[in-house]
């Protein structure tokens, strides 16, 4: 599904400041019924991520962390069954999963390093400054936190575990579940692409084979025998199970597509969830965009010898 820049911007404007909940998603679908759900979800997710990137830092100051943690504790004390953490995230316009992470991290610090929450609330200024620096300096191990987020059962505090779980399940843009879904979608589309290539009888080398050979940058597929798509020769195909908006496309170009070009020549990128039409401007240079598997494929025919 190719969108014009104007169409895309209309959607992005609508998304403005929304919370990453299923309710928001529902409203989005109602507003743009003609667009495919996955496209909308992808755009939603990307727009939300942009928003979060802009505000990320302000939620990670020692003060902010402390405030969130205190608020969480006091509210949970009042009613452990209420969706405290989720609401907190919504209140401050932050992704629930990320809020869960902040609070969990702070919780673990309290547990492991014995930094009681009250210290910061009631200690003198010097103590506070020191503690703040400690909080920033000694974060709990990332792997531990990630693992707890993935499986909140591991969180020693049952209430927090429930709160965290609620956050990660409800977040439709961040969190282990969403990551996993994205990963699965990516994988599925690669498989789809592989199927199509096989069906078309196009021989290719897949990423893992390329890595085994020691390539430093590897697209999803390198065609062993190049083909022409819509008149353009391509050597490789990259599958992107997302919508190609300007910022993601730019960073992909920078990190991946040009690198592939630099090594293997021109190639094709498939944005399965569509892209902004105007971005398909490097065709002549050797980067072709499509939103589906191409139909106009010309292969190297060997008919010439027979003529």
């Amino acid at each position: 599904m190719k969108l014009s820049k104007a169409q895309y911007e209309e959607i992005a404007r609508f998304l403005g400041h929304v919370q990453p909940t299923r309710q928001s998603l529902r409203r989005l679908k109602e507003r743009f019924p003609s667009q495919s759900q996955s496209t909308l979800l992808s755009i939603f997710s990307q727009e939300y991520q942009k928003q979060i990137k802009r505000t990320h830092a302000k939620h990670h100051t020692a003060e902010a962390i402390e405030t969130y943690y205190q608020r969480y504790r006091s509210r949970v004390m009042k009613n452990a069954a209420a969706p405290v953490l989720l609401e907190l995230a919504n209140e401050v316009d932050f992704a629930p999963s990320l809020m869960a992470r902040i609070v969990l991290e702070r919780f673990l610090q309290e547990q492991e390093q014995g930094i009681p929450a009250t210290w910061l609330a009631f200690g003198n200024e010097i103590q506070c400054t020191w503690l703040r620096s400690q909080i920033i300096k000694f974060p709990s191990s990332k792997t531990l936190i990630n693992s707890m987020l993935r499986d909140p059962s591991q969180i020693p505090d049952g209430v927090l575990a429930n709160q965290v779980y609620q956050c990660t399940v409800n977040d439709c843009c961040y969190g282990p579940l969403v990551d996993c879904i994205k990963h699965a979608i990516g994988h599925e589309h690669e498989v789809l692409l592989r199927e199509m290539l096989l069906k078309k009888n196009l021989s290719f080398l897949a990423e893992d084979q390329l890595r085994a050979k020691g390539y430093d940058k590897t697209p999803d597929f390198i065609l062993e025998v190049p083909v022409a798509v819509e008149g353009h020769i391509i050597h490789w195909i990259e599958s992107k199970a997302s919508f190609g908006d300007e910022s993601s496309h730019q960073s992909y170009l920078q990190d991946q597509f040009w690198s592939y070009w630099n090594r293997f020549g021109p190639g094709l990128v498939i944005y399965w969830y569509g892209f902004i039409e105007e971005l398909d401007c490097h065709r002549e240079r050797g980067i072709l965009l499509k939103d589906c598997f191409p139909t106009d494929i010309v292969t190297l025919r060997h008919s010439m010898a027979q003529h």
Binding site: H187, S203, W261
Partner: protein
């Protein structure tokens, strides 16, 4: 020197003898021994000075008549040599030299003079004679003196009365000839009166006093002084000239601004019509006549032929006037000034339109010649064309001397005594196409030359007739050289009416040469940037010392291409500056390289990219021999494409060349690489790059070609392949060598030549260091191994970038002198040592180098004109080996012109002449291409074919280079074998049949054998067509076999089959191409030999064939309709969301939805196609979570009542619809998951917590679940028991704690029973009943 020439002109010494004298080595044997002509001996002159003198002599003599084309190059060696021989002070030399760098055209300056003369004489009311002379010669002197930038500065020196008078005779023709030449334009200016006056002053002194003094060379000091004073206003150098033009142009206000290069671009093409407007100035001259009486009459101009017959030239004064009017656009500048203005504007506009692209190369009259343009022009000026270009054999004067000169000159060229034979050829063609004014009748010059004391100072080239005569004589003697030029040039020569009228014999030969020539040359389409492919063997991790280095290099590669793309996009934009935009990025990148010592990797990438992008002659293009473009064109043989290509060439090609001796440059993409090196300014990088270039150069220089059996039928074909290969290698070598030269001499480059002291110390210092690449050794080896054809062209490229000092170093001095020896020894002729074109290439590049070196200030001309050219360095291996490339015919015109694009100047010059001569604008040799009926079979469209060709090129891009080599090799061998096979089978068979037929026919009719032979052969030709079918079949059979054997076993099937197919196609193409051109001839030849044998006896032979087939398999495609894992995870997530909350009001999930979800889950898990470990893992976790939530009744389910009602009679707990869901889950866990499901997560504190909080305290679902786990063999009783045990440690509500205890006991007892081998299901219920009863 003049004395020697004098001897020749007086026919006292034969030109041959003189050349013999020139070649004789004074150091070795005595003159007598060498049979040197005694008169020459008696002169005891240094031979080395003769050639420069002679060349200068010719330039001087012809100077004023050459109006066409750029003057032969800047700074000919002559100037200095001449100066030397005259023993002149260094002062003048210095100035000349400085000026010599510019390419100003002396010819145009001389025209100044000529025109002036013409103007004078044209004015009908003046009597001709002395005044004209005086008017003319001062102008000449003045102009010469004033323009040290002249390419032949020494012209000045020859200002002698005889010389001065020539314009008078020339002018009538000259004037008519003017029209077509921009040169005239500039020339016109001197007419402006104020300037003239000044000049006149100078001239008068010349004319009176300097004649004798100036005889040999030059001019007296007085002249010089005068000249200098003139210089102040006229002065040399291109810039100043412009100023001059400006000055003169400004005086008549209504005239064009000649300063404006935009309006008067320096292209010949533009001359066409610009000159129409200009001459108004030339016509003004009437006032000149007033001055005439004032000028001193000169003795030598006694005759007044021109003035006597002004009417003879033009039917009447009036008609002349009218004629002029037409030509010049406006006679009366005084009158219609407004009309004039309009015209000027129009002209300007047209000019702009036409010449926007023309180079700003200043005053060098670029001879590029769009013929089209000329048509328009000539159409508008019909009478002019005729008048101006006529040269008549009958009007040639002093033929004998001209013959002598031509002979001498030809010999000098033939013996390579001139520094650049092509430059001389250019000069000759300039003479041939000159449009100088020609004298009306022959007697005049007798009188005219009467006063001259020596033959040398006589004016031999004062008219067009003489010039043309001389040129044709020389061309006739250089026929062999000329006949090797490309077809377009030959066509123009063959069409040249002057040659036709002066030498029908030469004309005939040229036509023949043209007709038989196949040497079409084309330059290329530029292609876009391609990357260097990543090759694991050299580029993967194992080639780097550390991960860091590997990853940093990964980034470098990407940055490099980013820079390249940026350059490609922007470098043509006007405000874009390489250093400003890319400089810092490049240096940042270099810093990273330095940090990780990755320079060598980068240098290799850089070098490969250079080759990739700049192999071709046109910037950005790739070499014609090896590129997709060319391949496409060859393959398609397609009219449209080639036409398009030619068209493009016409637009692109001419601009890229500047004069017959352009300085070395980095055109197109090469510029990027040069600027990159400069901006990077990295010592390490430069060093690595040099190493890399050296290595590659050495590798390529060691090229060996497959030895081929000559004179066999298929040798042609192999030769083609070798040529192609050779071309690629040669072009790459030249490119790399140029960059190497650039890098090597870069540190020593200076804008200004060093001072003498610095020079000496630099030489002393640098003599101590070793050269980076031992070109001397390579050169010597090449000479010995007779491989100069490969080595010299790149060494020339390398040396063309020398700094000011390098030529003086001992080492490079030796190299130059060795090159000079090669040059001298390489007399162009066909011999078995080396083919003609090979020689021409070497001569052309060396000539260019020498000529270019002379332009470096401070490089001594002695370098070339030394008489001590020793031949002993040229020891060659007499053994002819396969390595002896020199003897192979490797160079064709395409390669020659690709390497030396400046040779195209010859053609441009000739074309410009055609353009100017109007009458024959179309040329008389016309190619008639019959329009053949198109084949009816649908041909694949051009774009399709092109795409296929591109695909084929692309195919090789990411494969190891060996794949391509293999395919090409196989194609070549199979193609060649195919031809052999056809000869051995089909042809042999046909010949056998022919034999039978012939035998019968011979019996019948014994008279005409030839006719008989023809008859039989004609019958066979049709069958000969089978050869194609058989050939194809053969290639299709043999190609794949060979490819398969030669490629690595591990090559993938797809690659293998593509490689096979390409090899087959190439082989078939080769074979069929050969067969199509040769099969009939082959059959005929074979039949004839058989026939002649048969007429005596008889006997042929026959061979056989074999077959084999290959099959490939194809994977079955299957339909996978199950939902994607991601969809299922997403759906489960939605359910979890609702279960975990928060919920909107009465949000709930329908039971049927859950049922369906579990059904889909099962399908999804069964179909493994899209499953990946993370998905499966997530599914497992989610479903356990789902189970826990189901068990604890957390999920708001709709339609549950409906389900319960279905089975009212059953026991509630057992038949609870949720149990169905749980059972489904258990079965999915058991059956559908491949991975082990972490069911123990059910016992996590969080999940058990859900159960504990269950509102209805209905824990039987939990128990059902636990039993299910056992039942489905997902967990053992013991396991469950221990989990339940450990759960009791947490703080649960008391009732739940009790429940846990109970459950734990249940599983404990079940464990016992299990040990007793009882049915677990039965017991569960029993024991559960027991337990509840107890509590």
């Amino acid at each position: 020197m003049a004395a020697a020439l004098e001897l020749v002109l007086r026919e006292e010494v034969a030109p041959g003898a003189l050349v013999h004298w020139l070649k004789h080595d004074p150091g070795r044997r005595s003159a007598e021994e060498n049979h040197i002509h005694e008169k020459l001996v008696s002169l005891s002159l240094p031979q080395k000075d003769f050639v420069p003198f002679f060349l200068n002599f010719l330039r001087e003599q012809t100077g004023q008549i050459l109006t066409n084309g750029p003057s032969t190059p800047a700074k000919t060696p002559n100037s200095k040599a001449l100066g030397n021989s005259a023993g002149r002070g260094s002062q003048r030399r210095g100035s000349e030299r400085r000026a010599g760098n510019t390419t100003g055209s002396s010819s145009s300056r001389m025209q100044l003079f000529t025109q002036k003369g013409s103007a004078n004489s044209c004015s009908p009311d003046t009597s001709f004679a002395p005044s004209a002379v005086s008017g003319g010669s001062p102008a000449f002197t003045g102009s010469n003196l004033s323009s040290p930038s002249s390419d032949f500065p020494s012209v000045v020196s020859s200002v002698s009365p005889s010389f001065g008078c020539s314009p008078v005779f020339n002018h009538s023709e000259r004037r008519s000839a003017q029209k077509a030449n921009l040169g005239n334009f500039f020339v016109a200016m001197p007419e402006v009166q104020p300037t003239r006056r000044g000049r006149r002053k100078g001239n008068s002194s010349t004319s009176t006093s300097s004649r004798q003094v100036a005889r040999d060379l030059g001019r007296c000091l007085a002249d010089e002084e005068d000249g200098k004073s003139d210089n102040t206003s006229w002065s040399g150098g291109r810039k100043k000239r412009n100023e001059v033009l400006g000055v003169s142009a400004s005086s008549p206000p209504d005239q064009l601004n000649l300063n404006n290069l935009e309006e008067f671009p320096p292209m010949c093409a533009s001359s066409g019509f610009t000159n129409k407007s200009k001459p108004s100035r030339r016509i003004n001259p009437t006032p000149v006549s007033i001055e005439r009486p004032l000028s001193k009459p000169k003795m030598c101009f006694t005759s007044t032929p021109v003035s006597q017959s002004p009417a003879a030239r033009f039917p009447s004064g009036a008609s002349h006037e009218a004629f002029v009017t037409i030509q010049e656009g406006n006679v009366a500048s005084t009158a219609g000034s407004s009309l004039q203005e309009e015209r000027e504007m129009l002209k300007k506009e047209r000019c702009k339109l036409l010449h926007q692209a023309s180079s700003p190369a200043g005053l060098s009259l670029e001879p590029s010649t769009p013929t089209k343009l000329s048509y328009t022009r000539s159409a508008s000026l019909p009478p002019e064309g005729h008048l101006m270009t006529c040269a008549y054999l009958s009007k040639v004067s002093c033929k004998k001397q001209l013959d002598q000169l031509a002979l001498l000159y030809s010999s000098c060229i033939a013996e390579n005594l001139v520094p650049n034979i092509f430059l001389e050829l250019f000069f000759v063609l300039q003479l041939l196409t000159s449009r100088g004014i020609s004298a009306e009748d022959g007697e005049s010059d007798l009188e005219f030359n009467q006063g001259c004391k020596g033959a040398v100072e006589r004016q031999h080239f004062h008219n067009v007739h003489n010039c043309v005569y001389f040129a044709v004589q020389v061309l006739d003697r250089q026929y062999e050289l000329i006949s090797h030029l490309e077809k377009g040039t030959l066509k123009l020569l063959a069409e040249n009416e002057r040659i036709a009228s002066f030498s029908p014999h030469l004309h005939k030969r040229l036509r023949q040469a043209y007709e038989s020539s196949t040497a079409k040359v084309s330059l290329l389409l530029p292609s876009s940037v391609q990357s260097v492919s990543f090759q694991p063997e050299t580029d993967n991790r194992s080639n780097f010392p550390s991960d860091r280095a590997f990853h940093i290099f990964k980034k470098q590669r990407d940055i490099f291409y980013e820079l390249l793309r940026e350059w490609e996009d922007n470098h043509e934009k006007p405000a874009w500056d390489f250093e400003r935009v890319l400089g810092n990025k490049i240096r940042a990148m270099m810093a990273h390289l330095t940090a990780t010592c990755n320079h060598s990797h980068f240098a290799r990438l850089f070098q490969k990219q250079i080759i990739q992008m700049c192999k071709g002659p046109v910037g950005g293009g790739t070499s014609w021999g090896d590129t997709p473009d060319q391949d496409v064109l060859n393959m398609l043989g397609c009219d449209d494409l080639s036409r398009l290509k030619r068209l493009q060439e016409r637009f692109v090609a001419p601009q890229s060349i500047r004069g017959p001796c352009p300085p070395p440059s980095f055109p197109g993409c090469q510029q990027f690489f040069r600027d990159f090196i400069l901006s990077a300014g990295s010592y390490q990088f430069n060093q690595h790059l040099m190493d890399n270039l050296c290595l590659k150069i050495l590798e390529l220089d060691g090229l060996t070609l497959v030895e081929h059996e000559p004179s066999d039928g298929e040798a042609d074909m192999e030769e083609q392949d070798e040529k192609k290969h050779f071309t690629v290698v040669l072009m790459s070598l030249r490119l790399l060598a140029k960059f190497l030269g650039f890098l090597v001499f870069l540190p020593y480059r200076t804008v200004e030549p060093p001072t003498r002291d610095l020079h000496e110390s630099a030489v002393a210092l640098r003599n101590q260091s070793l050269p980076v690449l031992d070109v001397l050794k390579l050169l010597q080896r090449a000479i010995q191994g007779r491989r100069t054809i490969l080595t010299i062209p790149w060494i020339v490229e390398f040396l063309s970038l020398v700094d000011h000092i390098a030529p003086f170093l001992d080492y490079y001095g030796t190299v130059f002198s060795l090159l000079l020896q090669v040059y001298r020894s390489m007399v162009p002729s066909e011999d078995k040592e080396m083919s003609f074109l090979n020689k021409l290439l070497i001569l052309a590049v060396l000539g260019w180098l020498f000529q270019f070196l002379f332009q470096i200030p401070s490089v001594p001309e002695e370098l070339f004109f030394t008489s001590e050219v020793r031949q002993d360095g040229l020891m060659m291996d007499t053994m002819s080996s396969a390595q002896a490339l020199d003897s192979a015919t490797l160079v064709d015109q395409q390669l020659l012109y690709t390497c030396c694009p400046y040779l195209g100047e010859l053609r441009k010059l000739l074309a410009s002449f055609v353009a100017g001569s109007g009458a024959k604008n179309g040329g008389f040799i016309r190619k008639i291409t019959p329009t053949a009926a198109e084949s009816l079979a649908p041909k694949p469209s051009v774009t399709q074919q092109k795409l296929q060709a591109e695909l084929e090129q692309a195919f090789f891009h990411n494969q190891p280079p060996s794949l391509r080599r293999t395919v090409e090799f196989v194609a070549e061998r199979v193609g060649s074998n195919c031809v052999k096979h056809i000869k051995a089978t089909l042809v042999a068979e046909l010949v056998k049949r022919a034999e039978v037929m012939l035998q019968e026919k011979v019996k019948e009719d014994n008279t005409n054998h030839d006719k008989l032979l023809d008859e039989v052969c004609t019958q066979l030709y049709e069958e000969g067509a089978q050869a194609f079918l058989k050939g194809r079949e053969f290639c299709r059979k043999k190609g794949p076999e060979a490819v398969r054997v030669l490629l690595p076993e591990e090559t993938s099937a797809a690659v293998l089959s593509s490689a096979e197919d390409i090899a087959v196609r190439l082989a078939t193409e080769k074979a069929c191409t050969w067969l199509s051109t040769n099969i009939t001839a082959l059959i005929k030849r074979e039949v004839r030999t058989t026939f002649s044998r048969m007429l005596k006896i008889q006997g042929p032979s026959l061979p056989s064939e074999d077959t084999q087939e290959m099959k490939k398999d194809c994977p079955p495609g299957c339909q996978h309709h199950a939902p994607f894992p991601s969809e299922i995870i997403n759906e489960i997530k939605d359910v979890l969301c609702i279960a975990v909350g928060p919920r909107d009001g009465d949000e709930a999930i329908h039971y049927a939805h859950l049922e369906c979800l579990l059904e889909k889950l099962s399908q999804t898990l069964q179909c493994r196609k899209f499953m990946c470990p993370t998905s499966e893992q997530q599914l497992a976790k989610c479903t356990i979570e789902l189970a826990s939530l189901l068990v604890s009744d957390r999920i708001p389910i709709q339609g549950l009542e409906l389900q319960t009602q279905k089975y009212p009679e059953r026991q509630r707990s057992k038949n609870h619809p949720i149990c169905n869901l749980l059972t489904s889950l258990l079965s999915v866990w058991k059956e559908d998951f491949v991975m082990l499901v972490p069911v123990q997560l059910i016992f996590s504190k969080k999940n058990v917590g859900y159960v504990a909080e269950a509102k209805q305290r209905e824990w039987d679902l939990f128990l059902f679940m636990l039993h299910g786990l056992v039942e489905y063999n997902l967990m053992g009783n013991a396991e469950i028991e221990s989990y339940l045990q450990s759960l009791q440690e947490f703080a649960w509500p008391s009732d739940f704690l009790k429940e846990l205890e109970t459950l734990s006991r249940v599983f404990e007892s079940e464990l016992h029973i299990e040990e007793l081998r009882t049915n677990p299901c039965e017991l569960v219920r029993q024991s559960l009943g027991a337990v509840t009863a107890q509590s």
